[in-house]
Amino acid sequence: MSPVTIAPPRSKPLLWQHLQQALFISELKSKRKSSALEEMVSVLATGEVTRHPEGVLDAVRRREALGSTALGKGIAVPHARSTLVTERAIVVARSSKGIDFESPDGLPSNLFFMIVAPPLERDPVYLNLLAEIVRSVRLAKTRQRLLEATNFVALRRILAEASHE
């Protein structure tokens, strides 16, 4: 019998640690940017991240008003800090038809990572999370796999693999 090779344990990526089934929207109902933001924020309330989704939505919209958080290639990362959230959280959402998110490349966005966090003076994790998301979705094949993932567990596994690539 050949010896069993055990892969060394990998540390869980930051993004992986923040992913929650309750904050995953497999297919957004919304067709427009404004209502898509609202739909994503609403799951934060059901996930007990906030009891004041309307205030969090205002914070997200304020950030969006400064410049779209769409990065192009179908990706958007709306983000905001709000006193009204209890903890850092990420909503992952998909739209197979895509939503006009005022992307720099003019293409509709299909894959959304909404990050919210309480305002802290020093919170490198917040920026690191933004960076990790941008890095994780830089490959076209990863983006395609994320859109095709059949459930949350599969999507989380793809993101974990992508962050080690």
Binding site: G55, R61, L66, S68, L71, G72
Partner: protein, 119 residues
């Protein structure tokens, strides 16, 4: 962005969020990191106008307290976490957890002086 009129304490929470965003945008390191990641950040004049609008909805004394305390603390208005001030992590006496003498649903932490609110 909505133009909803807030309860004075809600307006103050929103004001703090705007101030936090303004601090981030005025911090060259923080702003440049976002831009390096590919996020666009245009002018902040709209944000400054939103701040003025929110400030006008906060009670004068409360706003004065907030402005004074914001010289000391990054976060002036903080949630009560159980019975703990989430700013300084000190246990609050039961008497701090009711309405204050002016009938408003907030109080000041007896230890650090931050404005407390229930989330």
């Amino acid at each position: 962005m909505s133009d909803v009129t807030f309860d004075p304490l809600d307006a103050l929470v929103q004001l703090q969020d705007v101030d936090c965003l303004l601090k981030e945008l005025r911090d060259p390191e923080m702003a440049s990191q976002e831009e390096k990641l590919g996020f666009s950040i245009e002018g902040i004049s709209g944000l400054e106008r939103a701040r003025e609008r929110l400030a006008s909805q906060v009670d004068g004394r409360l706003l004065q307290t907030y402005e004074r305390m914001s010289q000391r603390f990054f976060r002036v208005i903080v949630p009560i976490d159980g019975r703990v001030c989430s700013g300084c992590r000190i246990n609050l006496p039961t008497s701090s957890l009711g309405r204050n003498s002016e009938g408003a649903s907030y109080d000041l932490c007896e230890n650090c002086g931050r404005i407390l609110y229930r989330r």
